[in-house]
């Protein structure tokens, strides 16, 4: 197993380098002169030249790339144009709210999604299935920002049960995490159902029933473990979806997280922040996929990694 992890990590290197190179190129792809952007609209030519030297933009591109990689490895992403604070610090302040939001959403969506999926598979083509799958296809079709606005209007404004914006208490987490998790829960429900329906048709399930196990044991002990394998893979893929979705949800709930930081940065053309965030988001995504692959091996002992 450790060998497998090392091998996978090494295999990631080319992808990481390419991602890093793309993110590095980002500054040069932006229309206009990055030095002028960094110096601000009122700066005179000399200041712009100074800033260009300071950022190393006067050197050849390969050297700039090495400088960029070196900076990233030392957790140095430059200075935010908007706030003049180090980007690493900006991100540090905003990291935890987004992290918790994503984790809570994942928990909701796994819990709700898998329950609906299993119930639908067990009572296939009966009313629990129809209800569950109607909910699921609606969840996929309802955009997160609209759902967030509806939930906020109903639970915060009209009923007054929950706070509207901010992240001060645990109650602030309920609506944003439900909003963010809804689509993923829907996808998980559909996926769990189809995975379960396949498994319940297998021979070993018939054997388990034939030897007189009660249905609950058949479903939970024999079905669940085997149906989980594709579901776990799906979970990993959906984490990327959550990371992306958090950008929209954070705007709706005015959440002080990375997503809103990114939206503000794009608005202000704050390219060091955009660069760092894009890199961070994709790093997270790649790492989560690696973790999922490893989990996959733990759940399914028939898969032997070499």
């Amino acid at each position: 197993m450790p060998q497998y992890i090392v091998k996978r990590l090494l295999g990631l290197l080319p992808t990481l380098l390419l991602v890093g190179f793309l993110v590095f190129l980002f500054v040069h792809l932006l229309p206009g002169d990055p030095a002028r952007l960094a110096a601000g609209p009122d700066a005179n030519l000399e200041t712009v030249d100074l800033v260009r030297k300071d950022l190393g933009l006067d050197r050849p591109v390969p050297q700039q790339f090495l400088r960029f990689v070196n900076g990233v490895l030392h957790w140095d992403f430059g200075t935010s144009i908007r706030t003049k604070r180090p980007v690493a610090q900006e991100i540090g302040d905003r990291f935890m709210p987004t992290c918790w939001l994503t984790v809570w959403s994942m928990l909701w969506s796994v819990l709700i999604g898998m329950t609906i999926g299993i119930v639908s598979a067990v009572w296939r083509n009966r009313w629990p299935d129809r209800l569950g799958m109607t909910l699921a296809v609606s969840g996929i079709s309802f955009p997160a920002f609209a759902l967030g606005m509806v939930l906020m209007q109903f639970f915060s404004v009209q009923l007054g049960w929950l706070p509207t914006v901010g992240d001060d208490t645990w109650r602030h987490y309920i609506l944003p995490s439900l909003t963010l998790g809804a689509a993923v829960a829907a996808i998980m429900a559909r996926f769990t159902r189809s995975s379960f329906v396949d498994i319940l048709g297998e021979d070993f399930i018939r054997t388990a029933r034939a030897k007189g196990l009660d249905e609950r044991r058949v479903v939970i002990k024999h079905g669940l473990r085997n149906a989980l394998i594709p579901v776990v893979t799906m979970m990993g893929l959906q984490f990327g979806f959550l990371l992306g979705g958090s950008i929209v949800v954070e705007k709706v709930f005015n959440w002080p997280g990375l997503g809103r930081l990114l939206v503000d940065a794009v608005d202000m053309r704050d390219y060091p922040v955009i660069q760092a965030l894009v890199l961070l988001f994709s790093l997270e995504f790649i790492l989560i996929n690696l973790i999922v692959d490893v989990l996959y091996g733990l759940i399914n002992p028939t898969i032997r990694y070499r």
Binding site: T15, V19, F142, P143, A146, V150, V266, F285, I286
Partner: protein, 297 residues
């Protein structure tokens, strides 16, 4: 000698079974998908005819007497904060959302399918390079890639379409590559090759048709996602700019008036929901009808 009664001539099954008729036979049994398909057709008609059927000018008609008015006989879906007729704006918005969804997925599907065919058929270096590019595109969570592209190209609906198209490419490429790999070793491909068919003919006339059904299913499912992504970008202020009646942008604008005029948010939200729902249900139906492994259960 007793004469045998003349047996009726043995007719070959009168009903010729083509892939198309097989598809139709399975598809029309699915009531929900049929309704969804009809709704999509209706949407397309509305989108095309919007400028003629919209009761008011979506951008330049201002009813100052009825700011934020609730739905009424004159304004079916009410009026927004600037006095514009929401019903007209929803109709015009259908044009934008459908065009954005369809164009971006079409571009993504064409480029992705070509890449997938090349990667799967040539294998070797082509395969490695193309799949590596897809891995890199996959390394960015969907909307993030789109935001990055919009940050480079600037806002606006055209750039949103490009951005959404780019992140549709890798999924189509992988899908088609997988199908191509499975098809290329089959006997009929070998037969075509031994008859002297060129690579191009083999890929486009023999392998490509085998991948179409998967591409069609994915296409319709993807349109829903793309409409949501495009609307999300507009909601974030990176897509359609005011006064364009784009549904996501309308929702963003309605946020400030949620207390006094919730209808300004409800109708665009419903419009997005029903449109995406229709495409998703249609896609599910297509998948069930086109996938030979699925017998109705």
């Amino acid at each position: 000698m007793a004469t045998l009664p003349a047996s009726p001539p043995l007719l070959a099954d009168e009903h010729v079974r083509t892939p198309w008729s097989e598809f139709w036979r399975k598809f029309k049994r699915q009531k929900i998908a049929m309704i969804a398909g009809a709704f999509v057709v209706l949407l397309v008609v509305v989108a095309i005819a919007a400028p003629w059927i919209a009761p008011f000018d979506a951008e330049n008609f201002f009813d100052y007497d009825q700011l934020n008015a609730r739905p009424n006989a004159k304004h079916w879906f009410g009026v927004d904060a600037l006095g514009r007729d929401i019903f007209s704006r929803i109709l015009m918005g259908a044009r934008i959302s459908l065009a954005a969804g369809f164009l971006s997925v079409a571009v993504g599907a064409i480029v992705g399918t070509l890449l997938g065919l090349i990667a799967g058929y040539k294998e070797g270096w082509w395969d490695r390079i193309i799949m590596r590019i897809c891995d890199v595109l996959f390394a960015f969570p969907g909307i993030l890639l789109a935001i990055g592209i919009v940050a480079i190209l600037g806002g606006g609906m055209a750039n949103v379409i490009v951005a959404v198209a780019v992140f549709s490419i890798p999924t189509f490429a992988r899908l088609v590559r997988g199908n191509t790999l499975a098809l290329k070793h089959l006997t009929f491909i070998e037969a075509a090759r031994s008859l002297g068919a060129s690579d191009r003919a083999i890929v486009f006339r023999h392998i490509f048709p085998g991948t179409i059904s998967a591409v069609v299913v994915y296409f319709s499912l993807r349109i829903g996602t793309s409409i949501i992504t495009a609307a999300s970008l507009s909601f974030l202020g990176m897509g359609a700019q005011p006064p364009t009646p784009e549904w996501g942008a309308m929702l963003d604008a309605a946020r400030a008036e949620m207390l006094t005029a919730p209808h300004g948010a409800i109708f665009p939200a419903l419009a997005i929901f029903l449109t995406v729902l229709a495409f998703n249900l249609l896609g599910d139906g297509l998948r069930d009808a086109l996938d030979p492994k699925i017998e109705r259960r």
